[in-house]
């Protein structure tokens, strides 16, 4: 079944700090899906997300969002178009309150934020309890929820998440994966970068495997979970 692609990347090259981190990747994100990008540390996954978000400039290649080329656009323009990035390491604003962190997520919006704040508090009831606390005092899992909630405040069509499971306890990680599924069911497309390949592939419709700046494999989440080389390299299971 052919679906509309919300994001298409064609032949993207990015150099970062003197190193070519992304070497000609092609990737498509169908609207309404969860797409995951797995791979080892330093494979270029984060750089791809940062390039889409406009934090890093590409050398060559084309990024298209809903039939509009967004290559080289400023980050604030990309946010306006409906793409947002939950950065690696959560990066909540530690000396802003939980509520302020949510409000700043909707910085570009001029309409009333109160309904969205209520919605975030429904998704993450713990944040409502912590509303007036400084974000720096939250636990790692709560900060991750806040980072996701903050990203949702801009009413994105596409959320990119960079290693949301990093440094969290296994139980919390499962909670985060459930939240990703919930958000997706509400109509938000998700591009998920993960080192925890097993979990990511389980929830993803489509997966891409990234190795030293190139895409080496792609397929449905299920196909990749069963792929022998993926099993050996990322799922910690020996070849038969």
């Amino acid at each position: 079944m052919e679906k509309n692609n919300i994001l298409t990347i064609e032949d993207l090259y990015v150099s970062y700090g003197g190193i070519q981190a992304v070497k000609g990747i092609n990737l498509t994100v169908p609207e309404g899906e969860i797409v995951t990008l797995i791979g080892a540390n330093g494979a270029g996954k984060s750089t791809i997300l940062r390039t889409i978000a406009g934090l890093v400039k590409s050398e060559k290649g084309k990024i298209t969002y809903r039939n509009e080329e967004i290559t080289g656009k400023a980050t604030n323009e990309i946010v306006d178009l409906g793409i947002t990035l939950v950065p690696e390491g959560r990066r909540v604003f530690p000396d802003l309150t939980v509520l302020e962190n949510l409000k700043i997520g909707g910085y570009r919006r001029k309409d009333d934020l109160s309904k969205d704040i209520e919605w975030i508090y429904e998704l993450f009831p713990i944040l409502k309890e912590r509303s007036w606390q400084l974000a720096g005092t939250l636990s790692g899992g709560e900060q991750q929820m806040l980072a996701v909630g903050r990203a949702l405040m801009s009413r994105p069509k596409l959320i990119m998440m960079d290693e949301p499971s990093l440094g969290l306890a296994p139980l919390i990680v499962h909670g985060i994966m459930d939240i990703i599924k919930t958000i997706n069911k509400q109509g938000v497309t998700i591009l998920l970068v993960e080192q925890n390949a097993n979990l990511a592939l389980k929830i993803a419709h489509t997966g891409y495997v990234c190795e030293t700046g190139t895409i080496t494999l792609h397929g449905s989440g299920k196909e990749l979970l069963e792929n022998e080389s993926v099993k050996a390299a990322y799922l910690g299971k020996a070849r038969k």
């Binding site: 978000a53 406009g54 934090l55 400023a74 980050t75 604030n76 946010v79 306006d80 947002t84 990035l85 950065p87 990066r91 604003f93 530690p94 000396d95 802003l96 302020e100 409000k103 700043i104 997520g105 910085y107 570009r108 903050r150 801009s154």
Partner: protein
Amino acid sequence: MTLSTFFQHALTGISLGGAYALIAIGYTMVYGILRLINFAHGDIFIFSMASLPWQIAIPLVCILTVALGVLVEKSAYKPLRSAPRMSIMISAIGVSYLLQNLATYLFTALPRAYPEIPFLKKIFQIGPVSASLVTFITPILTLLLVIALLFLINHTKFGMAIRAVSKDFETAQLMGIRLNNTISLTFVIGSFLAAIGSILYFTDRMSVTPFSGTLPGLKCFVAAVLGGIGSIPGAVVGGFVIGICETYLVAMGYSTFSDAFTFILLIIILLFRPTGLFGEKNIDKV
């Protein structure tokens, strides 16, 4: 020292401190957002040198000071944003000398009369204390401006953006905040307050030269460090402390040492409490 002279000096000190506080806020805000000691901050009000009637001079000094503050940011700091911090600091020192010499070229190094603002110079008498109107106005104006500034920083969207950018450039951008606009806004605010501070400071003095801004500029930097650089209330408290201490030292006959005192204070703070009175504990970016 009789009680009335004590009050007289207290008033003078508070007034001087108010002017220092306004200038010190600029140092602390720029440090907060860029981690840069803006050494050119004491030199951006050079256009107050232009001898004009005060009705024109006051708005003109404000506008030109703000314009110069922003121009310095755009031309000397912005291109170095990803350079090591030392480079941008050297650039700041360079700009400071450039502005002093530019002013010397434009206005010569001869002292000039500061624009006379007659109504500010009017002498008032309250009980045993008498002083010009500017002495009474300065602390009040300072407090009003500080309250307005704190409201802007803590309760408006712009303020939220400034606080976010101060903490984390990249994540602030991901929220859709325009980095360059926010940084420029910080320079606008800092420069505007410095312009007001400089008018209040120089009105009580007879003349200005292109180098007149250097020493008060450095003292305000010390005030910002004393209060804890990065903290706005800290800069205000630091400004008042230095203004009051300096005035009493002069009153007690140690005027020769009043400048030295400020810098001894700087050394003592850096030795014993480098984060100042209200400073952040961790000044490095997370």
